[in-house]
Amino acid sequence: MTNAPILKLDHLGVTFPNNPVFSDLNLTIRQGEVWSIIGKNGVGKTTLMRTLLHQLRPTQGKVTYLPSVNDVRIGYVPQFRNIDADYPLTIRDFIGLNLTGWKLPWLSAKERAKVQRIIEQTGLTKLANRPIGQASGGEKQKAYLAQALVEAPNLLILDESTASLDPVTKTELLDLVTELNQRLNLTVLFVTHDIPMAQKYTHQYLMMTPGKVEQGPIAQLTHDKVWEGENV
């Protein structure tokens, strides 16, 4: 059975003054799919993600969220966060930051239970009370993932989240994302330069090159395609 589409890009393009970033991008992403977004630095991967996150307006074409914009809840996991190592912000506190709204300053019992559930799901139980600034790179990435998950997204964007991790930690994190994808039917966009990881963990690829965008099942992403013109 084919899952319903949740995101459709029609002739999408973004141009900064005198600098076309990408144009004529057509893409349909369905619930539960795992996409890798690849391409070398400067081709517009981050610009595309910022457009999906409503931070940039496309200069051509459109993004359609299906069935409606409110039905697509996006969780975003970046590579870095600028958090002072000395802040007394525990991983538990950090995850709870994403629970906003016009509410009382402190979390309700229901919200605390929600944070605890995510902590358990992401394997952060033993680290929950450690200041996030003192956590290792892998632990921080797990905390960023947990923060993104606390609002129950159905589309998760991993924006080079594994770039600075060692191979074991990288595998651990992507195993966790795969498990979430299978259990929650979570759609995942994995922005990466790591082709072996993309081949192992994603279903489809979108390769962005200057002036050209290519997509297809990940099995069709061959060595020749990647290295032709040094595309990653």
Binding site: H54, P78, N98
Partner: protein, 265 residues
């Protein structure tokens, strides 16, 4: 000491200031805005001088200048790479204006000194009442916006991705700092306000385990500094701002030493 009305007023005002500065200071430190706070205090001096020139109460001049300028500073320093330079330019301009207004008002250096360094003797009951109302406004806004402010201050990237209106939050926060500066200037003076808005929170971050804990500890440290400063000033007749500055700085250096020991272990 408490048989004098001015000392009772000073302690009441000092307590209000310590609470406000302890709470706001946590956000000032998390947002790396110590320098900007210093600039707002200089603008406060200029505003007070303008108030004197215009025949108003200095607090009203301060409120006008700090609130208006906090919006301008917020806009000009929205991009972090030009924040330092923009803040320095505004700071220089306002100090110059402050001196000009004092000169136009035909006030002498001792008047400037009392604006810059504060005065315990001049605090009346109506001043305390006015400070209390302003502080309640600040506390109410912080209470309502607490989750947004906390998210944006401690994880700006996350707040932006979430779609929070971070620019509006930043300007709102600066206006709150402007109000706090105007309140706190009554005792410690405009030049030393940033001490209470930065050092207690900067010290507290080394000892607290949660943001809430940091806030409570910052309030406690500010209270110790203000109460001890007022007492020592009463006993020795030296300026209260010197004692407050010295006590808070000692706390901060002890915290730095403690942190170093912890890291070395």
């Amino acid at each position: 000491m408490f048989s004098y009305e001015f000392m009772r007023n000073a302690f009441a005002a000092g307590t209000i200031i310590a609470v406000i500065c302890g709470i706001m200071g946590v956000f000032v430190i998390a947002r790396n805005m110590s320098f900007l706070t210093h600039t707002l205090s200089e603008i406060g001096f200029s505003g007070a001088a303008f108030g004197v020139f215009a025949g108003w109460a200095p607090l009203n001049g301060m409120l006008l200048f700090t609130v208006v300028s906090s919006v301008i500073v917020g806009q000009l320093s929205a991009r972090s790479e030009r924040r330092e330079a923009a803040t320095s330019a505004i700071s220089a301009l306002f100090i110059g204006m402050g001196i000009l207004f004092l000169s136009l008002a035909n006030k002498n250096a001792s008047y400037a000194t009392s604006i810059l360094f504060g005065s315990v003797i001049g605090i009346s009951v109506s001043d305390v009442r006015q400070m209390l109302w302003l502080s309640l406004v600040v506390l109410l806004v912080v209470f309502v916006l607490y989750r947004f402010l906390k998210f944006d201050s401690f994880d700006h990237t996350g707040a932006r991705v979430k779609g929070l209106w971070t620019n509006a939050l930043s300007i709102t926060f600066l206006v709150l700092v402007a109000l706090s500066v105007s309140v706190a200037a009554q005792i410690v003076g405009s030049l030393l306000i940033f001490i209470l808005l930065t050092l207690p929170a900067a010290t507290a971050k080394y000892f607290a385990h949660t943001v809430g804990g940091m806030m409570v500890l910052a309030i406690a440290l500010a209270l110790i500094g203000v109460w001890s400063g007022l007492t020592l000033s009463y006993l020795t007749n030296y300026p209260v701002s010197f004692f407050i500055a010295a006590i808070e700085a000692i706390f901060y250096f002890v915290a730095l030493g403690w942190q170093r020991l912890q890291t070395a272990e």
